[in-house]
């Protein structure tokens, strides 16, 4: 029924399949198609779940329609001489980076998981190890196009590297999990492809490695990545600390030498040929279990946060971007365990965000859980502004 209506509205091939729950997967080819679908959803009272390439979170959850951005995937529009590029939301992140690399540029984000779309990375603000040295997703986004729950097309930000005209609505959309609309394209700040890229790693006890990593940051050394992780599925195994330096050859050499001197640890060089796979594997760990949670710690609070997360569920996989304080944990835990973690972490002002999980977990725990005093009413009103008919099925708060 809904599928037929959508076909008559957007064309016979717009339904790209059927989701696990039986809902039609609708894949418009451009932002106008997205807007039309959302206006119809508004008019008919359909609930809409937003999806990218389908490799980040499970294909579950109640909705009448799954809106996939996968067909909004024109080639990336890059201006390498200005170090900016605009990419469609449905474009695979890897395809975007490959196209940019041919122009000698890239976006300094390494997302967790595999085969993510541009829109998914922006909407979830999920960056990986490179957040230590290159910042969070918000720091790379110059602008984006957002289609609201009523099908309004909002073009936030711009395409130049500095811009304070109007309010920064792009910041609102990045990391909001689609609560305010469907991201259909994103403009990024670019960097030149680094001439040198070297990785070192060392194994040891958690506290020893954490102490060494903190010594690096306190010495003012900022490598591109400074990442601590446990060994999955074996609590007795040692932890790893990896450092990655990107840039010009002399700069990379100097950074790694400074790290060696500051820590005095027996670092091993990861072969250049193996380094890409090494970091890819690091990012793939984030989807080894059903639920992934991000903690926003300060570096000196990491030990306490690590103590808390290693008890949250079985086979806990932990990665810590030490310089940024971002801690990602992947496990199989229910909303009660997340609630307990949030309760503990609130005492030390650490936000706990559920980045992905099965619908039952997300619906009960919410991506964000409880808001701080004064923030909840603002978020509620913002959601009503961008989605007055509650079209989007996005559980941002607990008990959604």
């Amino acid at each position: 029924m809904i599928g037929d209506r959508v076909r008559s509205l957007l064309g016979p091939d717009v339904v790209a399949g059927t989701a696990t729950g039986g809902q039609p997967i609708v894949a418009p080819r451009d932002e106008d198609g997205v807007a039309l679908l959302l206006r119809a959803a508004c008019a008919h009272g359909w609930g809409v779940r937003i999806a990218g390439l389908g490799h980040w979170r499970p294909d579950d959850g109640p909705a009448d329609v799954v809106l996939s951005t996968r067909r909004i995937d024109r080639p990336v529009r890059a201006a390498p001489e200005d170090l900016v590029a605009t990419a469609d939301a449905g474009l695979a992140w890897s395809a975007m980076q490959a196209a940019l690399a041919e122009e000698g540029v890239w976006v300094g984000i390494d997302h967790p998981g595999t085969e993510r779309s541009v829109g998914s990375v922006a909407a979830t603000a999920t960056t990986g190890a490179l957040s230590s040295g290159m910042g969070r997703v918000r720091d790379h986004v110059l602008g984006l196009t957002l289609v609201t729950g009523e099908g309004r097309i909002v073009r936030a930000g711009g395409t130049v590297v500095k811009n304070v005209a109007g309010y920064d609505l792009a910041k609102l959309a990045v990391g909001s999990f689609g609560a305010f609309g469907v991201v259909t394209s994103v403009t990024f700040r670019l960097r030149a492809v680094p001439r040198a890229d070297q990785t070192l790693q060392v194994q040891g006890r958690r506290d020893q490695l954490l102490e060494a990593a903190l010594a690096v940051t306190e010495a003012g050394i900022i490598p591109s990545a400074l990442e601590l992780r446990n060994a999955a599925r074996d609590e007795r195994a040692s932890w790893s600390l990896a450092v990655r330096a990107l840039g010009r050859a002399a700069e990379v050499r100097a950074t790694l030498e400074a790290v060696r001197q500051e820590t005095g640890l027996p670092w091993e060089v990861v072969d250049t040929g193996a380094a890409a796979a090494f970091w890819r594997n690091w990012q793939h760990r984030a989807i080894q279990s059903p639920t992934t949670i991000r903690l926003g710690c300060v570096p000196t609070g990491l030990a306490r946060c690590l103590d808390a997360v290693t008890r949250i569920g079985p086979d806990v996989v932990v990665s810590v971007s030490v310089a940024s304080g971002s801690l990602r944990v992947t496990t199989d835990c229910g909303p009660e365990a997340i609630d307990r973690l949030r309760h503990t972490m609130t005492e030390i002002e650490v936000p706990v965000t559920v980045e992905r999980g099965p619908w039952s977990t997300l619906a009960a725990a919410g991506h964000f859980g409880a808001y701080r005093e004064g923030v909840g009413p603002l978020v509620t009103r913002l959601r009503k502004t961008f989605d007055p008919k509650s079209v989007f099925v996005v559980p941002v708060g607990a008990g959604a």
Binding site: E81, G135, R155, K162, N163, A192, A250, V379, K384, T385
Partner: protein, 477 residues
């Protein structure tokens, strides 16, 4: 319309009589910021002494339906801190406490009245600094920087204000309080810090700010290159950016500006017969890699026609070069008694073309335009010198400013990169945003301020804005 006396008395009960200004002569002090073309005398000025007093003041004003305008040091260049006779200016310069410095986590929490430069001085002993460095950093406040999302020369490498704000304590327009963000910069919810920074006082008043601190580089190389062609200097900027080297700063000054600086007390030794100079700073922790970058940049400068390239050989020489650059706006006062500092951004590859267009605009309207700007970001500051007592000249200044905005937008740019929209640029927003996007901005502003009390009339134009449904205070559409 004026501010009711009952409100004035209520405000005085909160802050004390000493911190209320109602006399005309006193109010005149707050009639303008650093934008010389707009001037309005406010109804009342109030100077609360701490965040609690700010909240009380805003609550009184919200209850009475009296508009208010937050103000820091008054160095804003877009008229954002100007208030009418029906409004109260809330001056935040008494909120000067540095609340906490956390060197291990590279952060500091300060009240909004803390001066930018004072924060960097306070953390310098830890080998840290606060990276955003607007030219007015010796007087402007962190709160003003947050309101405008301020930039500065070194934002090319280190990012603008929004990249350095982790958390904000804010008083919302109804007088309620909220904490946005967290000590790590991650948030309990959507990125409201990112939304609030740069909202120009329209979403409420920040009272304290947690900022990210940046390690101070141990190696700094500063090059000065002079060109006999403005276009060649612009092309050289594009070449440096395209090379993949990210200088800490990459600034340009044109002949008019060089002349003004060299004739002033800020003289820095710039060659007065050059058409343009580029000031390029490279920094890092390692002398070898910084030296390699400096050599590569020197090569690019020479390849693109630099007549001479010199280097500051010691900290005093470097400070002198930067003093000239940062005080250039003041030095331009030698050319004429009044100065409009414009602010636009263009794609860096369009700099040569846009600089030529600006030169033509100056000739067309018979005015002097001097350029001193953040070339590495494509962030132009065409400075128009004029006599504000000459009404005919003011018209030409406004016409020229509009022509510059149109030229920059045609080149793919935007109408402000770091000075904000304020009162000055509301009419230009429809050049870069469609009605739907402006409607979204207005709707978001009403989420924070349904009564339009916080800095009304700023940022958004009155025309060309699509109507979005209103959301009431409970969130009902």
């Amino acid at each position: 319309m004026t501010v009711p006396q009952t409100v004035v008395r209520a405000l005085a009960r909160v802050v004390g009589d000493r911190w209320i200004r109602t006399a005309v002569a006193e109010l005149e002090m707050y009639a303008a910021d650093a934008l010389p073309t707009k001037r309005r005398r406010p109804g009342v000025v109030v100077l609360p002494g701490d965040p609690a007093e700010v909240a009380s003041v805003v609550r009184i004003l919200a209850d009475a339906g009296v508009p208010f305008v937050a103000r820091g040091a008054g160095t804003g260049l877009s008229g954002g801190a100007i208030a009418g006779a029906d409004a109260v200016v809330v001056v935040l310069t008494r909120l000067t406490r540095i609340i906490a410095i956390d060197p291990q986590n590279r952060s500091a929490t300060v009240e909004v009245g803390v001066i930018n430069d004072r924060l960097t001085a306070a953390v310098a002993a830890h080998g840290l600094h606060y990276a955003p460095d607007p030219s007015s950093q010796t007087v402007c406040t962190i709160g003003g920087n947050v309101a405008e999302n301020a930039g500065g020369p070194h934002c090319l490498k280190y990012g603008v204000t929004t990249n350095h704000i982790l958390a904000l304590d804010v008083v919302l327009p109804d007088g309620s309080q909220a904490t946005l963000g967290s000590p790590s910069g991650d948030a309990w919810g959507p990125d409201l810090v990112g939304l609030f920074v740069g909202s120009e006082g329209r979403f409420g008043i920040a009272t304290s700010v947690t900022v990210r601190l940046t390690p101070t580089p141990t190696v700094v190389r500063t090059l000065l290159a002079d060109f006999t062609s403005l276009s060649a200097a612009g092309e050289c900027v594009s070449a440096i950016i395209a090379s993949g080297i990210v200088p800490a700063a990459l600034e340009m000054m044109d002949r008019n500006c060089i002349g003004a600086v060299e004739a002033s007390i800020y003289a820095a030794g710039y060659p007065t017969d050059a058409d343009a100079v580029l000031l390029v700073e490279l920094d890092g922790r390692d002398a070898t890699s910084v030296a390699e970058d400096a050599a590569a940049v020197r090569g690019l400068l020479e390849d693109h026609g630099a007549r001479g390239v010199s280097e500051a050989t010691d900290p005093a020489a470097r400070a002198r070069l930067w003093h000239g650059r940062k005080k250039a706006f003041g030095a331009l006062g030698r050319i004429s008694r009044d100065l409009v500092v414009q602010d636009t951004v263009v794609p860096r590859s369009a700099l040569p073309e846009v600089l030529r267009a600006i030169e033509e605009i100056g000739k067309t309207f018979g005015i002097t335009i001097s350029n001193v700007f953040h070339a590495g970001d494509g962030n132009l500051h065409p400075n128009i010198t004029f006599d504000a007592e000459n009404p005919e000249e003011i018209v030409r200044v406004e016409e020229a400013a509009a022509a510059i905005m149109h030229a920059c937008v045609r080149a793919g740019g935007t109408v402000t990169g770091e000075h904000g929209v304020g009162l000055d640029k509301t009419r230009y927003l429809p050049l870069i945003f469609d009605a739907e996007t402006l409607g979204a901005m207005q709707a978001v502003q009403r989420v924070f301020d349904p009564w339009d009390l916080a800095n009304p009339g700023k940022v958004l134009p009155t025309h060309g804005v699509a109507h979005w449904h209103a959301v009431d205070r409970r969130g009902a559409a």
